[in-house]
Every structure is written in structure tokens, then in C-alpha cells.
């Protein structure tokens, strides 16, 4: 065998092909069998094995579908179900995923219901994308239902209770029996026709009380389903009891379990709204004031932190004062230092004053003075003593000295010629006779 001819699958590839084959061949199958090994994990999905005498098949019903069950699954129960074949690649197992299960032995009506449901579902009438959200607060509510009976009263009561001033428009229809389907369809026509006009209803409640599957037949009709689907105004279905499901329920924009519930779903509690509004308004005010408060406190903080430079100024002032003090101290230091030096110098100068000089010179001068006087005195004394000696010697030689011994000297007058010889004198001539103690004037009387 050529290698080229050999097709080799990976496990995934093979599994993937088998999965396609299986799932495309059996998109939906009706299958009957007996439940065994039923388990319900926390997830809420049902896992079980469906078996007959010869074969087993794994089966799952997911939680979403479980709610539609009108009975409890249990081991040993024979069922008929609608499901898809699914291959779970990671484990290589296949199983059937049930969309719908009913006990085996259900009637033809139910079968027709299921068939229609599948058809419409496949057509997309149940698709979420077609479901219109309900108005939050409708101006007017249209109720399509029987004008008699508890349903309408319940609805009105509840609406009144919840939101007194909402208008209600009732389109009375037959809800079972002949003519019910056309009336309901026509009611939708009317509502939608009026939809363009002012004050029209903004939501429709299609309601009916509980009943058998036969009683609910109109709501399982294709006509009504299509009327509901066609309605531009959102439709809330409230048909039968909580466990009753009709085709209309699937098509409706919202299914309410009961008519009362429908009223509750459609109409909000006015008080609640009012409270919410008030609350919101209060919050609004509180928040804006909070904002302002917050900003105010930030601003206040900023204000306290915005430090006045005056504190700095204080510091600066102290510094300047210090500088001035130091300036003064130092300049006075400079001055005092110089003054000290000057004083010292001046003291030195005074110490060297010429007073000392003067004193010295004074002494010298005094000495010289003394000497001058002493020497002149000595000089004069000297001269005087010489003079005195000479005078004394002269005195000793005085010719008059002999007179003391009694001699006398006779002299002529006035020639003062000493008379030694009488011949030189004449008689009568006057002569002077010198004596020791004076002299005599004598006249010559005679000669010898």
C-alpha cells in the first residue's frame, strides 16, 4: 500500500468528523426509553441513561430546560423526549441532550403542541432578539382577556395598588372555545392599530386563568402565536398556572407565571419609584454638597497650609538684629582695639616727652651756671688778693713809716722839695713838716 494512499487521522480529526456526522444527521430526534442512573449534580442539570432492552444512551437535560418539565424525572420512568445528539470530544462519548421530555403515553394534542413549538422555534419566533423590553413605566396598559372572572379584577387591583394613576384599557376577548382565536388576534390588531395614536397603550397583557391543555388551546394556536409575535407593542403573557406553558408564552416578550404576576411585572410600584426618585434627588443634593464640602475642606487645608511669609519675616528680623548686634560689637571691637593701640602709643609718646630732656639739660645748665659764677668769683678773688698783697707791700714801703719813730720830713711849700740843706730855704719861708700823725706848717726863723 502506497503511503500516499493511506489517510491518517489524528484522533481529533476523526472525532471531529464523527461529531459532524452525528450531529448533522440527528439535529433533533424524538426518542423513547427508560430512565436509569439519574443524577442531579449541584449544577442543576439532569444526567441519566436512557435504555431499552438492547441499548443504552447517555442523556442530559440542562437546567434551563428542566424548568419546563411538568413532572419529576425518576429512575425507571419511561419517557418520550426531544433532543439533539451531541458528541463530547474530550471523552469520545456521545449523548443526547434533551430539550423536552414528557412521560410516555401523552396525547396527540400535546404532540401537536410540541411540533408547533419546534416549528415556530425553528422559525425563530421564540428568539430573544425579537423580544421587546417592557416599558419601565407605561402610560397605559392594554389587557387582552376575558372581561369577566377573577383575572381582570386581579390585574386591575394589582395595577391600582401598584400605580394608581396608570390608565388601563381592556379589550375583552373570549379566551377559550370557538371564536377565541380570532378575537384574540383581532384584539392585537386593535391595539397595534391604536399604537400610533396619542395615549395608546404601551404594553399588552395577554391573560387567562388556568385550565387543561384543551382549555388553553387558543394560546397554543399558531394564529395567536403569530399575532403576539407581530405585535409592535410588547406583550406579556400570563396564561394558566405557573406550570402551564403555552406557545403564546414562548412568543410573548415576557411570560408571567400568573395574571397577577403580569400586572406586577408591567407596572412598577409607584411608591417605590417615588421613593427612588426622592432618594435619587436627595442623593443628588447630598453628593453635590459632598463635593462642595470636600472641595471646601481641601481649600481650607490649603488655606491653613498657605503659610503666611510673616513667620519667615520674623526669622529674618531676628537674623538682621543679630547681624546688627554683631556688626556693632565688631565695629566697636575694631575701634576699641585701635583705641587701645593708640592709647598705648600715646602713653609711649608721653613717656618719651622732652621733659626728661629738659631735666637733663637743666642739670647741665645749672652746673654751668654754678661754674660760671664760681669761676668768675674765683677770678675776681684772685685779682683782689693780688691787689691786696701789692697794696700791703706798698704800704710797708711807705716813706712815711719812719715818721712813727719820731722822724719828720720837711718840705717846701708848694714845691714839696724835701729840705735836706738849710741853704735852700730862706728865712721867713713857710715849710711843711710831716709828722707821724699829721703835718705842721712852720716858718723859718733861723738857719744853722
Amino acid at each position: 500500500m502506497s503511503r500516499n494512499l493511506r489517510k491518517i487521522y489524528t484522533v481529533s480529526e476523526l472525532t471531529s468528523e464523527i461529531k459532524s456526522l452525528l450531529e448533522e444527521s440527528f439535529p433533533f430526534v424524538w426518542i423513547s426509553g427508560e430512565i436509569s442512573n439519574l443524577s442531579t449534580p449541584v449544577s442543576g442539570h439532569y444526567y441519566f441513561t436512557l435504555k431499552d432492552e438492547n441499548a443504552h444512551i447517555r442523556a442530559v437535560m440542562f437546567r434551563g430546560q428542566n424548568r419546563k418539565l411538568k413532572f419529576m424525572l425518576e429512575d425507571g420512568l419511561s419517557i418520550i423526549g426531544l433532543g439533539r445528539i451531541n458528541l463530547y470530544a474530550p471523552r469520545g462519548t456521545y449523548q443526547i441532550i434533551f430539550e423536552y421530555i414528557e412521560p410516555k403515553g401523552i396525547g396527540a394534542l400535546q404532540l401537536a403542541f410540541e411540533k408547533l413549538k419546534i416549528r415556530l422555534s425553528e422559525e425563530g419566533l421564540f428568539d430573544d432578539k425579537y423580544k421587546t423590553p417592557l416599558p419601565f413605566l407605561p402610560n397605559k396598559i392594554c389587557v387582552i382577556t376575558s372581561p369577566t372572572g377573577a383575572v381582570i379584577h386581579d390585574i386591575i387591583d394589582i395595577i391600582n395598588r401598584r400605580f394608581y394613576n396608570i390608565s388601563i384599557e381592556i379589550i375583552p376577548v373570549k379566551v377559550q372555545g370557538d371564536g377565541a382565536i380570532p378575537e384574540i388576534v383581532s384584539a392585537f390588531d386593535i391595539v397595534n392599530k391604536l399604537a400610533e395614536s396619542d395615549g395608546s397603550a404601551e404594553v399588552v397583557i395577554l391573560a387567562r386563568g388556568g385550565g387543561s391543555i384543551e382549555d388553553l388551546a387558543a394560546f397554543n394556536s399558531e394564529e395567536v402565536a403569530r399575532a403576539v409575535f407581530a405585535s409592535k407593542i410588547p406583550v406579556v403573557s400570563a396564561i394558566g398556572h405557573e406550570t402551564d406553558y403555552t406557545i403564546s408564552d414562548f412568543v410573548a416578550d415576557l411570560r408571567a407565571p400568573t395574571p397577577s404576576a403580569a400586572a406586577e411585572l408591567v407596572v412598577p410600584l409607584k411608591n417605590e419609584l417615588k421613593n427612588r426618585c426622592d432618594e435619587m434627588f436627595k442623593n443628588l443634593i447630598a453628593r453635590i454638597y459632598n463635593n462642595i464640602e470636600r472641595l471646601n475642606s481641601i481649600l481650607k487645608e490649603m488655606n491653613t497650609r498657605l503659610v503666611d511669609p510673616r513667620k519667615n519675616i520674623q526669622d529674618f528680623r531676628l537674623r538682621i538684629d543679630d547681624y546688627i548686634n554683631r556688626l556693632l560689637k565688631s565695629i566697636y571691637n575694631v575701634i576699641n582695639r585701635w583705641r587701645d593701640q593708640l592709647m598705648w602709643m600715646t602713653k609711649s609718646l608721653y613717656a618719651t616727652s622732652p621733659y626728661k630732656h629738659i631735666d637733663n639739660l637743666s642739670v647741665t645748665l645749672k652746673r654751668l651756671n654754678y661754674n660760671l659764677l664760681s669761676y668768675i668769683d674765683i677770678y675776681i678773688q684772685n685779682r683782689r688778693s693780688i691787689t691786696i698783697v701789692l697794696a700791703s707791700r706798698l704800704n710797708d714801703l711807705s716813706p712815711v713809716a719812719i715818721l712813727d719813730r719820731g722822724y719828720s720830713i720837711t718840705r717846701t711849700i708848694p714845691d714839696a722839695v724835701v729840705v735836706r740843706d738849710p741853704k735852700i730855704v730862706n728865712l721867713g719861708q713857710d715849710l711843711e713838716v710831716m709828722l707821724s700823725k699829721g703835718s705842721l706848717i712852720c716858718r723859718v726863723e733861723g738857719k744853722s
Binding site: 416599558p135 419601565f136 413605566l137 402610560n139 397605559k140 392594554c142 376575558s146 372581561p147 369577566t148 386591575i156 391600582n160 394608581y164 394613576n165 396608570i166 390608565s167 388601563i168 384599557e169 381592556i170 379589550i171 375583552p172 383581532s186 386593535i190 392599530k193 391604536l194 409607584k270 419609584l273 417615588k274 427612588r276 426618585c277 426622592d278 435619587m280 434627588f281 442623593n283 443628588l284 453628593r287 453635590i288 459632598n290 463635593n291 462642595i292 470636600r294 472641595l295
Partner: protein, 80 residues
């Protein structure tokens, strides 16, 4: 604003409240939002009391004409 639904208004109002609450808006913007919020709040309040209660029954004849009658307890009797 008149065309805005109550729900939208309420939602807007809620958003505004949250926005303001977040504290991330500048004052001027917050103030503007607040103003808007006040209007919305007023609008919502008014909206709640706007409509007048009326319960009517719509009837249609074979010609397709629609008539409106007040809903009365007798209607029940009539339809029976």
C-alpha cells in the same frame, strides 16, 4: 427632554448621582450635572403624577370601528 422616558430619565439621574458621587468631576462639570440632575429629578417626579387614572374598555364592531367605554362592573354582567 419631554420625549425621554421615565426609565431613561431615572437612569440618567442615577448615572449623574454616581458621577457626582465619584468625586472625579470638576466642580463646573459637577455643577452642570447637578443642574441636569435636578431637572431630571423634577421631570421624573412629574412623570409619576402625570397621567390621570382611567380604566376603559375597547369594543369593536364588525365594521372594524372601535369604541371606548368606561369600564364598569356592569360590563362583567354584560359580557356574561
Amino acid at each position: 427632554m419631554a420625549k425621554i422616558s421615565f426609565e431613561k430619565s431615572l437612569k440618567q439621574l442615577e448615572e449623574i448621582v454616581q458621577e457626582i458621587e465619584s468625586g472625579n468631576l470638576p466642580l463646573e462639570k459637577a455643577m452642570k450635572k447637578f443642574e441636569e440632575g435636578v431637572k431630571l429629578s423634577k421631570y421624573c417626579s412629574e412623570k409619576l403624577d402625570e397621567t390621570e387614572k382611567k380604566i376603559s374598555v375597547l369594543l369593536h364592531d364588525n365594521n372594524g370601528d372601535i369604541t371606548e367605554e368606561p369600564f364598569m362592573p356592569e360590563n362583567e354582567a354584560k359580557n356574561d
